[in-house]
């Protein structure tokens, strides 16, 4: 279905990179070149093939070539380099293709990885003859979990034709949401716009130069836009839709973006790497409530936690027990409120803090902090404490220079006027904005323990800090 549609649009633009468009025809030629190359090396049906790079015509063509040959793709970014061996081992990768900085096929190195450890899930999956996709999710234990998808099943979601968008490929190539965006572009005849980095200046520049109509992003990146102010320097008039997901949207951020780009539609999205991306609809532009579901998805709420049953479920985890019960339901771990058939996301169950027996949702506190003057980003997390179990702590970034101690006290008093006392951060640290986001432009929320008393004791230096 995907390749037929691409062929039918041969002369139309498929991708945009470095100021130039690549047509579907041009992309399919690159796919064919990769296919020949892969087949010559014996890479074909059932082969697990990892590649490290970012969106570009040749990286995308490689993924499509692996798909067409019935192989299993493991897209990675250069950021995965540090834990690369573990990811390759979990996935049972047989080949690793590394792209050089220009992301061209000519500069790519193709390395065999030797005989991988047998993985029962992959062995069973190979028997289907379907192309596969492996993505990783950071497990609650800290060890990455490999997720195996049937690529045919993932593509099934795009069977019904929809309008294509000129879309910034913002979510990274190793992220299920990123692959979902790319496949939507290619399936619906949109244009995927490749960006070299996810900084506010470069993303806004790409919107302007490629006349992007859709920016799928995260609340954290929108806060980065707000903090940088560079969005004012670029022509964003082509934008029609900004979608956001991956983490709860603070009300203050939604209000700001609504005012900053008043003619742009705003839409919250929801998905999980294990289940796919659901269709969503909000009653109004600035609402945090949304109806989720769509063809192939069922939802239910159990103890305020969202459960989903999906036709595009993953095949399974490669290195962990399945989280999907025998009836096909998965506990998403996302706490929600429900009203009139719509949900509002409160945060992850794993992120809920327990302060002396009382629950604190970090997103609620962050939302209040973001309403304070001069605060452009806020991250709330728990620190283990002997007396209360956990103490609420926050990191904030400010728009302008301000004495850190004075700012912390101002913000604490601001929170005291608006939140129950147990929700008010006990420690507020002022940091640079960049310290609050990871390479996926997602908030880095330090949850739980923090340094142990013993670790902190190592730092004792009272004599360097006399009264």
């Amino acid at each position: 279905m995907l390749f037929e549609r691409m062929t039918a649009r041969a002369g139309e633009p498929a991708l945009f990179r470095d100021g130039a468009e690549v047509s579907f025809d041009g992309l399919l030629s690159r796919v064919a070149a990769w296919e020949r190359d892969l087949l010559e090396r014996g890479i074909g049906a059932g082969t697990v093939c990892a590649f490290a790079g970012d969106y570009a015509p040749d990286t995308i063509a490689l993924m499509l070539a692996i798909m067409r040959l019935g192989g299993i793709s493991l897209p990675l970014t250069p950021a995965a380099e540090q834990g690369l061996l573990e990811l390759l081992a979990i996935s049972g990768a047989q080949w690793l293709i590394r792209f050089s900085d220009n992301l061209d096929r000519a500069g790519a190195s193709v390395e065999p990885l030797g005989a991988p450890a047998q993985n029962e899930l992959i062995e069973h999956f190979r028997a289907t003859g379907h192309p596969g996709l492996i993505v990783f999710t950071s497990g609650s234990s800290g060890r990455p979990k490999g997720i195996l998808h049937d690529f045919d099943r993932v593509l099934g979601k795009f069977a019904v034709k929809r309008p294509g968008w000129r879309t910034i490929l913002f979510l990274s190539i190793d992220h299920f949401g990123g692959i979902n965006t790319l496949m939507a572009c290619l399936s619906y005849g949109g244009v995927g716009i490749c960006v070299s980095q996810r900084t506010p200046d470069i993303v806004c520049g790409a919107v302007a130069s490629a006349r992007a109509t859709l920016l799928p992003t995260t609340p954290t990146f929108l806060n980065m836009l707000r903090a940088s102010g560079t969005w004012r320097l670029h022509d964003l008039s082509s934008l029609r839709l900004i979608t956001y997901g991956a983490e709860p949207m603070p009300e203050a951020t939604l209000k700001w973006i609504g005012e900053a780009v008043p003619n742009v539609e705003l839409k919250q999205t929801y998905g999980l790497s294990e289940l796919g991306v659901l269709h969503s609809q909000s009653p109004e532009r600035r609402s945090l409530w949304l109806r989720i579901g769509g063809h192939g998805f069922e939802t239910r709420i159990v103890d305020n936690v969202l459960h989903i049953r999906s036709e595009s479920n993953m095949v399974g985890y490669l290195n962990a027990p399945s989280p999907i019960d025998e009836d096909g339901w998965m506990n998403t771990g996302d706490m929600v409120e429900m009203r009139d058939g719509m949900v509002r996301f409160l945060g992850r169950t794993s992120e809920v803090l327990n302060v002396g027996g009382q629950k604190v949702f970090p997103a609620e506190v962050e939302n209040v902090l973001l309403g304070a003057e001069g605060v452009v980003e806020a991250t709330v997390f728990g620190r283990r404490h002997a007396l209360l179990g956990q103490a609420v702590c926050a990191r904030v970034s400010l728009a302008r220079g301000e004495d850190a101690g004075a700012a912390a006290e101002r913000l604490r008093l601001y929170c005291l006027e608006r939140l129950a006392k147990f929700k008010v951060p006990m420690r507020i640290e002022v940091v640079q904005h960049s310290a609050q986001a990871n390479e996926r432009s997602k908030k880095v929320r330090r949850v739980g323990e923090g340094p142990s008393a013993e670790e902190r004791l190592m730092d004792r230096s009272i004599k360097e800090n006399p009264v």
């Binding site: 404490h385 002997a386 007396l387 103490a391 006290e409 420690r427 004792r460 009272i462």
Partner: protein, 79 residues
């Protein structure tokens, strides 16, 4: 000259703002001096931050009153 005691009292008042605890008796438990458990936790964290120490779970009894905190810190400083 600012003493450890002056400093500890200041930290407690700052941690409890805008409320004003009664610190007229430094031997009295802080939790009986107008501080609730949240104020008290904040005091402990302020002491940790200011003196760059970590208060272990089993050390809470050493930080129950102004006198105890001062005594512990003086011992640590070697004053």
């Amino acid at each position: 000259m600012t003493t450890i005691r002056d400093n500890v009292v200041r930290l407690i008042f700052e941690a409890c703002r805008p409320r004003h605890p009664d610190l007229s008796d430094h031997s009295r438990a802080l939790l009986d001096s107008g501080l609730d458990s949240l104020d008290y936790t904040r005091v402990l964290m302020a002491v940790e931050d200011h003196y760059k120490i970590a208060i272990a779970d089993n050390e809470l009894d050493k930080f129950g009153s102004v006198d105890k905190i001062v005594s512990h810190l003086e011992e640590w400083v070697g004053a």
